[in-house]
Symmetry: C2
Subunit: 222 residues, 2 copies
DNA sequence: TAATGTGAAACCGTTCACAGCT
DNA sequence: AGCTGTGAACGGTTTCACATTA
């Protein structure tokens, strides 16, 4: 039985190497984002209080997160932005080029293909798949749309690391199985269904309706 | 300073009425989803073990979540699906009609307007706003796109509860402030930036790049 | 008999507070 | 003087295990 918070699961309980609290991973991602902004502004250092303020997190949490990275800030000064960015990037897996495919070029898939913001983090969309003949052969955001019927073969050629799943619910499980069979390591799932997959595939779920529901809940219980 | 997990914050620490562990809210949303599916399949009851399996959560967690709802399952039998669905719906705020506006009709905004799956949960998209003259006046997914320049006035007419923010990063803070000024209670924010807002507005962030980064992390530390 | 509901223990993650660097 | 790094206290969730009830 799996005890991880819903919306963030790995099919195999990790023998992982990290001493990192899981919520910290999400925060690192946010620090990373802000650090880039700060670098663009020409800043060279930042302290836990200021960084925390940018991300709406307490300074203590920032320090804990960064120190558990083995990162070295300088007492009395703060953290050097360049080093810190590099460290966090390494932990999060930027620096590696991740090969990513997208399956399902509906309106959401379309939006994801156009979304600039993956590349900067080391994600390279190498192909998209759909069944619609009107879409096959076209390009969106520089990515070619291939015939989903030929997906297995193409995946064997490309051997991508990750997949973004943006197909209708009723096809999601099926397509996900194909992806796993083709050796995908991780799936970003936008279909509102819990994928139950064999083996070791990591899954992160993004359920747009659920997010809106969480928002409504927090408003209702304000 | 704000201590909530990133990506899920309320601008004012709630004097909320709920005895519900926060992580439970997300799970309730998932149970809700599965319960609808089960109802469609004609099932009448389900037990904690089976429901947990559908959502990848332990039976003990399911029971805790449901009992903290005050819900009554029957020992030896399980939970009646209809009653349970109703209860969870009430807690999550389905049953109320939430009036929602969307700001920013780029490709993501477009996809969100076409997304069927909000209505069923009680969310009604009542208007969209954009600055692009080519879009203004058109309809997408049955929702009219209005001139963003007139937003404040329109919001005063419509007085929506929630807003979906799908504008470019550099406009996000600005637009969010306008929304808050217009009395919006909650914002679902797709812009990759931490909104720092005055007052009591609830914010839920969805950062697509971050999600992909979390996926990469869990793959890398498999 | 089967499955809920729930004390009590175990387990994280966060917060506090301060010693230790620079 | 200022800010990091971290032991120790704290608080909230999850897990365990079982008494309870249909």
């Amino acid at each position: 039985m799996d005890q991880r918070p819903a919306n963030e699961s790995t099919a195999e309980t990790s023998g992982g190497s990290s001493k990192l609290p899981r919520p910290a991973v999400g925060r690192l991602s946010l620090y990373f984002r802000e650090l880039h902004r700060l670098a663009d502004l020409g800043e060279s250092h930042i302290n836990s209080k200021a960084l925390g303020a940018l991300v709406d997190v307490s300074p203590a949490v920032v320090r804990r997160d960064l120190s558990s990275l083995g990162t070295i800030g300088r007492r009395g000064v703060g953290y050097p932005i360049d080093k810190l960015t590099e460290q966090i990037g390494a932990v999060l897996g930027s620096g590696v080029q991740w090969q990513v495919v997208l399956v399902g070029v509906g309106s959401l898939g379309d939006a994801l293909l156009r979304y600039r913001g993956f590349e900067r983090l080391g994600f390279r969309l190498v192909a998209a798949f759909d069944l619609d003949p009107n879409k096959i052969g076209k390009q969106i955001g520089g990515v070619s749309i291939l015939n989903a019927a030929t997906m297995t073969g193409k995946l064997a050629e490309l051997s991508p690391d990750l997949a973004i799943l943006a197909v209708p619910v009723d096809q999601a499980t099926m397509v996900a199985s194909d992806l796993v069979a083709a050796g995908i390591s991780g799936i970003l799932n936008f279909a509102p269904i819990t994928l139950r997959l064999p083996g070791k595939t990591a899954v992160v779920n993004v359920d747009l309706a659920s997010e809106l529901q969480r928002l409504a809940f927090s408003v209702q219980n304000r």
